[in-house]
């Protein structure tokens, strides 16, 4: 099994006609994801040509896309930051239950409203500023490269994009395939937390171990560690990026900043270790620790 999305998930792509949107939609389709429609305001009525001669209709609005294609389970958003929060709200308002927002650079006050609407409408948001997720062999929603994953027993959760790929790459090479790899995003306000993912992995019988890839800033890793300590019955491994980051400086991700004494790598590492989660010192070590815990 997998969490959040699989081969039956019917996906709409918002911003399908843009440079990134069209590139990654083709990659998603090539991976086998059920993309049923695209949305770009002003481009309704066209068709989007995917790989292998498959084409999907493009609509002006998500509501039309949902109505005309017999429903959608998820939307993936590749629209510019000025319009991305609005795109999330549009999808949530149209009744889409799961929204993956890849866009980076969305104003945080926009996101306070978008997250509120998503909660009001019962919509799960993954991201923003996230690489999305991939359920190996089933579907990918977002931009995680399909060639670095394999089906298997490991659930992976990360605040980062490329660091996720790095970790997955090692897991796959070491024969440790994945149920689902989830990039939760590097923004301070994200829709799906480590804990949300842990709960989902805990309920998935196929996931036998979890890797948690965190970074400096905020307290999401500490909360995850505490939750895992109390509820998680499968082994988990942690990693924290940003040990060398100076306090008060934003390290790229809007969420990756040490404020005062809070949100340091030390604090997070301690939280993991206090809750029985070994912490890798190098990205390559993550896979090694997971393998040990799984008795491989």
């Amino acid at each position: 099994m997998s969490i959040f999305a699989d081969e039956n998930t019917r996906v709409i792509v918002q911003g399908i006609t843009g440079r990134d949107g069209s590139f990654h939609t083709r990659q998603m389709m090539a991976y086998g994801t059920q993309v049923v429609a695209g949305v770009t305001p002003g481009k309704g009525g066209r068709r989007f040509e995917g790989p292998d001669g498959i084409a999907v209709p493009v609509f002006d609005t998500v509501a039309d896309a949902v109505a005309e294609t017999g429903g959608a389970d998820a939307a993936v958003i590749y629209v510019p930051p000025a319009f991305a929060a609005s795109a999330i709200m549009e999808a949530a308002d149209a009744g889409v239950g799961f929204v993956v927002c890849v866009t980076e650079g969305i104003p945080v006050l926009d996101m306070t409203r978008a997250h509120a609407l998503a909660r009001d409408r019962g919509c799960r948001v993954l991201g923003p500023n996230c690489p999305g997720l991939i359920s190996p062999g089933k579907a990918k929603l977002g931009i995680i490269p399909g060639n670095i994953v394999e089906p298997g027993p490991v659930g992976l959760i990360s605040r980062s994009g490329t660091l996720t790929y790095e970790a997955v790459h090692h897991l796959t090479r070491d024969g440790l395939g994945q149920t689902t790899c989830v990039g939760i995003g590097g923004d301070p306000l994200i829709g799906t937390s480590f804990v949300d993912c842990l709960e989902a992995f805990a309920a998935d019988p196929d996931t036998k171990a979890v890797a948690l890839i965190g970074e400096i800033g905020g307290t999401a890793e500490q909360e995850a560690a505490e939750w895992a300590g109390r509820h998680l019955e499968i082994p988990a491994v942690g990693f924290i990026a940003g040990r060398t980051a100076p306090p008060g400086k934003r390290m790229g991700h809007a969420g990756a900043i040490i404020s005062g004494a809070a949100g340091t790598a030390e604090e997070k590492t301690k939280a993991f270790e206090d809750n029985g989660i070994p912490v890798a010192r190098r990205p390559a070590e993550i896979s090694k620790l997971v393998g040990e815990l799984l008795g491989r």
Binding site: P107, T112, P131, G161, I216, T219
Partner: protein, 376 residues
Amino acid sequence: MNLHEYQAKELFRQAGMPVNPGEVASSPDEVRALAEKYGGTVVVKAQVHSGGRGKAGGVKLADGPDEAAEHAETILGMEISGLVVEELLVSPAEKIATEAYVGVLVDREGQCPVFMVSAEGGVDIEEVAATNPDAVHKLRVDPRYGLMPHQAYWMATRLYDEPALVRQCAKVLSGLYDAFTRNGASMAEVNPLISTEDGQVKAIDAKVSIDGNELFRRPTVEALRDTASEEQGAARAREAGLSFVKLDGSVGCCVNGAGLAMATMDLVKYYGGEPANFLDIGGSSNPDKVVAALEIITADPNVKVILFNIFGGITRCDDVARGIVEAAGRIDIRVPLVIRLTGTNEELAREILADAGFEAVASMDEVVQAAVRVAA
């Protein structure tokens, strides 16, 4: 983006908040003239993006124009947290009865703006929160409703007993929330918010940080940027759409993705090196960004090697490879490059690099160890 006190105060005034008067000066003569104009005791305050200006000697009371000019002489050019003071804010001194703290920022957990207010103002609020948490009152603002009048009023009653002061304070808080949201701030605070001996509530200090993601749609706020006070490379990185933080080491890092960039820095340290910078070339990259990244990194004389660590996802490896080749042609890269590329369009990237005489490795540990070796 941090604003100077005088800029923040102007935003507060625009939001209808009561703020003490004041003007900016950049020479002792100008300060003398302002002190003459205001008469009586004046306050001279260094305008730098740093807390602890008072402790550093950047804030002085002056009993007349001569003393004001003397203080200006001392403070101008002073270095506070590595920043040189080039401007001073001169204000008439206030007759302070009480000092409170009011601030609003974005709460990660609640995913909403959160106010922090305390009747204990004029001091470090984090210290108050740590030593006397009951003295700090928190109030979350539901973004669907904004700050509701009863919430502003409730906070005001935590700071004042006298109904007239409570009413004024509630207005200040509504104004602060307006200033916060209307300018796309990530933090706005007044410390201290004073009440005067004649019963006026007003802001005599102001601190505002703007969410960088808001600036594209707020040109008047963007215009407040003080590029002179930015660190080396920051302006160039911003223009090129790169995330860059200068550090003190010798291994220049050019990575795609903030997490991987941090992990790369950490790995440099792990293998005994010191990173010269954090640099994320971002998601959807184009060759120009790579060129800019190389220019920024090579401008740092400490850099002895440049480490590329690229894992292709939304970034395509071939774009980065083209950028490296183009940059090598355009600028004089006087230090060695060590390159790691893997992921989307990896094969194509290797070909492009090979054609230009560069080699790339596939492992992160490998490339970092190589870089540390070169820099040693």
